[in-house]
Symmetry: C2
Subunit: 135 residues, 2 copies
């Protein structure tokens, strides 16, 4: 019961970028080393974040990545959706999902609460929330 490695990487990258707002541009090499994420794998993830308009990239010499909007406007769910949507709502814990409200197994309702609670966490938490040290 965890996020994919890809999603975890994406979140860690964004936290890193957000926490170093004095730095305006980040290089893949630098991020890769600082966060111990395989370089080539990282660049793939960065491209997805660019595609999703969360990161702006500048190619060529003196290029790099920078954050595309304020961290308060980036929801955690956006990050996950941008890279692999590994917490895509599954509705059914058993992977069936065909039952309806009238005929359902006990897990259906049991599962709903924690699932929604988890989804809400990603929908209602912004990158800013996560990046700021808990007071």
């Amino acid at each position: 019961m965890k996020l994919s490695t890809t999603s975890q990487y994406a979140i860690r990258v964004m936290i890193f970028i957000s926490q170093n707002s004095d730095i305006k541009i980040f290089h893949a090499k630098e991020i890769s080393e600082k966060l111990s994420i395989p370089y080539k794998y990282l660049t793939k993830i960065m491209s997805k974040l660019v595609e999703a308009n969360i990161i702006t990239s500048t190619r060529g010499r003196e290029g790099g990545y920078s954050i595309a909007k304020k961290s308060v406007n980036i929801k955690m769910i956006d990050l996950v959706k941008a890279v692999d949507d590994s917490l895509h709502d599954t509705t059914c814990v058993l992977g069936i999902g065909l039952c309806n409200e009238n005929k359902k197994c006990a897990l259906h309702d049991e599962w709903r609460e924690p699932k929604e609670s988890m989804l809400n966490m990603f929908c209602n938490t912004t990158l800013k929330d996560v990046s700021e040290e808990a007071s």
Copy 2:
């Protein structure tokens, strides 16, 4: 954010067996067909359930599988742990897990509630709860 296919299969098998308590012995072929689970994959899972003393097996002609204890005494977490522990407690949503109570990211606490809520669901729900039609 879902259970592994293996865990889903295990749960579905146990619900099926529990809901058909008039039948005393089940054959792999029968379960496989009824639940559309690949035969050979199913038998592997059954072996794990046998190993975990959740299922009793009888080899040879007229053999098969039967439930080893009352469904009220089988926790859902036991099923998952028996086959692949796919909801093994991850502590850290980012796969780092080295931070402590004094230095932690915002996700640490955000994550705790839904995670524990989900884990509790599997610890406190028995196969009986899940097998009985919601009233």
